[in-house]
């Protein structure tokens, strides 16, 4: 587990940032953090991460959507997989899924908050494997 792949965490809740960072670091990843989509975009441009984990509900309700659109329409970054973590699903009755929302949401995978560490690690590994295979 010494991949040193770079993962960018974008979340406005410092607890989740730190928690996911601890879990991912423990699994050998290098972890970057950002607390806003603006900061997140800056870090993507500066650090070119291998994976982005993004909280959907940030400062503005559509921040997650515009963030993914910006990344996925940029030829430099469009291949970076995005794992969308969200707590809106149950609260609003909406359920995001790759099949239904993938076309316009442009994220590569979705997870509901709170994320089980094991699940997080498993999904991250799968997305990174897919990226390496490309």
């Amino acid at each position: 587990m010494d991949s040193h792949e770079k993962i960018l965490l974008v979340d406005d809740d410092p607890d989740f940032l730190e928690m996911h960072k601890a879990v991912l670091k423990n699994h050998g990843y290098e972890v970057l953090t950002a607390t806003s989509s603006q900061e997140g975009l800056e870090r993507v441009r500066a650090e070119l991460p291998d994976l982005i984990i993004l909280d959907l509900m940030m400062e503005k309700h559509d921040a997650g959507f515009s963030f993914t659109r910006t990344i996925k329409t940029d030829p430099l970054f469009k291949d970076i997989p995005i794992l969308m973590v969200t707590s809106v699903a149950e609260a609003t009755g909406f359920r995001f899924s790759l099949e239904e929302d993938g076309y316009w949401m442009k994220a590569d995978d979705f997870l509901d908050k709170p994320v089980q560490p094991a699940v997080l690690v498993e999904r991250v590994a799968r997305l990174l494997k897919g990226r390496r295979a490309r």
């Binding site: 601890a22 809106v88 560490p117």
Partner: protein, 502 residues
């Protein structure tokens, strides 16, 4: 004993007069006699008569003239003409002019009595008929009055009213209905429903009631969204049935529930926001516990302790959030929960400041208070006032900078006392300023994200101030600090008393 009837005999022949009197008195009538027409007319002015016996051939006023004059005075008097053979034609003429009958001279007493009896019966019948007619007139008038009263009441109703008959024609409506539905062509009555109504849902509801398919139907309720004007109406349609249960039409009552729907929407938004706000700290707590329990993030004992402390911190803030929600609920529950009494604001502010002094000084902040001695009392709930200044001063401490200061000062104008809480803190960006009193809104930047808060503190402040008929204002400059000003109406009587003192 009351006589059966009053009878007047007008005849210049005294024999006839007295004969009639004798015969008719015996029958139980009261009989008077007048010698000629002029005297007869004078008599009917003095006393009401039911029947008159009039000789046609008299000196002075003639019989025919007398009939006219009597009937001018009282059209209900029955007149029987007494006449000799030679004047039968005149007698016939007299009956044409309103006399009841005629009696040829000489006449037998029983003929006289019989004729008078029939005449009086005729009079009774006529009076009865008149009474009935009059009564009916009165009732119709009353009905017309009721009808117009009902029209007026329906016209004044805040709810819209529409009535349609079985022919699908609109037969009654009021101005509220015209306004709500923008009824067109309301000046031409009795047209088909679709002539006036454009809303498909309400037409369809009318059709359903008017179809009469469901014999037990008592009411249909529809919610109607109108684009223009932007209204939400609750329409309740009920069949109109007669006493026998036969369907006659349908009545619709429309109520404007736009405001209610807005409140309902706000409430449900609030609930979903609350759910989200409760979920975030709970998810964080669960996340930390999971990290520690699963060991997924590794870490030594000290690290695990630190993570658990984070979970505890979030649990603590969750508790604060729940307390704030309860606080809002208490204010919302309203005046019932409030105990209004004259409260000395200087006392409350001073007490709150002292409560925070240690915390402020611990952070190197200076806390200054400048309250005039003459601050009038405010009719307020003491607990609410304490909560209000606790929230404002606590914010001034939380969002301050190192070596900053907090100043609490008060002024009085002719209507309000103003208490200002001024800090030298982070300030609020202009674009976020209008939103700071919104539920759960928190100024979002790097520095504030480290500060605990529920986003409800200022909401609570605003609700408290509102419930005391005051207002709260904020001025702020990023990097310079913020000033929150609370304006509360004070007790006027007290100032008057003061003015009244020597």
């Amino acid at each position: 004993m009351t006589p059966l009837a009053n009878i007047l005999v007008v005849d210049d022949e005294i024999g006839i007069g007295q004969g009639c009197k004798r015969v008719l008195s015996a029958e139980g009538y009261e009989v008077d006699w007048a010698e000629d027409g002029t005297l007869g007319l004078a008599k009917i002015q003095e006393k009401p008569y039911d029947l008159m016996l009039v000789d046609l051939m008299m000196p002075g006023i003639g019989g025919l003239d007398l009939i006219r004059k009597v009937h001018d005075a009282d059209p209900e008097i029955i007149i029987v003409v007494i006449t000799g053979y030679a004047t039968i034609d005149t007698a016939v003429e007299a009956t044409k002019r309103g006399a009841y009958d005629y009696l040829p001279k000489p006449f037998a007493p029983e003929v006289l009595a019989g004729l008078v009896k029939r005449g009086l019966e005729k009079r009774d019948l006529r009076l009865e008929a008149q009474r009935l007619h009059h009564e009916r007139e009165e009732r119709l008038l009353e009905l017309a009055g009721q009808k117009s009263r009902l029209r007026t009441i329906i016209g004044c109703m805040a709810d819209g009213v529409l009535v349609a008959n079985l022919e699908r024609q609109l037969v009654l409506w009021n101005s509220s209905a015209v306004r709500m539905l923008k009824l067109s062509g309301a000046d031409t009555p009795d047209q088909p429903l679709t002539h006036y109504l454009k809303n498909a849902s309400i037409i369809e509801a009318f059709q359903e009631v008017l179809s009469g398919k469901d014999k037990d139907l008592s009411m249909i309720t529809r919610e109607i969204q109108l684009e223009d004007p932007g209204l939400v109406l609750m329409a309740q349609l009920a069949p109109v049935r007669d006493e026998g249960g036969t369907l006659l039409g349908a009545v619709a009552v429309l109520r404007d529930i736009t405001k209610l729907k807005e409140i309902e929407k706000l409430k449900s938004q609030f609930v979903s926001m609350v759910a989200h706000e409760l979920r975030s700290p709970l998810a964080a707590i669960e996340g930390w516990l999971e990290v520690v329990l699963s060991g997924a993030a590794g870490g030594g004992e000290a690290q695990r302790q630190a993570w658990l402390a984070r979970a505890k911190e979030r649990a603590h803030s969750l508790l604060g959030l729940v307390n704030d929600l309860l606080e809002i609920n208490r204010i919302e529950a309203g005046k019932v929960a409030q105990k209004m009494e004259p409260v000395r604001m200087a006392e409350v502010v001073q007490k709150t400041v002292e409560f925070f002094r240690r915390e402020a000084e611990g952070k190197g902040l200076s806390l200054k208070v400048d309250l005039p001695d003459s601050l009038p009392a405010v009719q307020a709930d003491r607990q609410d006032m304490e909560k209000l200044f606790t929230n404002l001063i606590s914010n001034a401490i939380k969002y301050n900078v190192e070596r900053g200061s907090i100043t609490v000062e008060a002024t009085v104008d002719e209507n309000f006392i103003a208490v200002r809480v001024r800090d030298t803190g982070l300030g609020i960006p202009a674009d976020q300023l209008p939103r700071i009193f919104e539920d759960f809104f928190r100024v979002n930047d790097e520095r504030t994200s480290k500060i605990c808060g529920t986003g409800l503190g200022l909401t609570i402040c605003q609700r408290i101030v509102d419930s005391h008929f005051g207002h709260i204002e904020v001025e702020s400059e990023p990097g310079r600090g913020s000033t929150f000003s609370v304006y509360l109406p004070y007790l006027r009587t007290q100032t008057k008393d003061k003015q009244g003192l020597p």
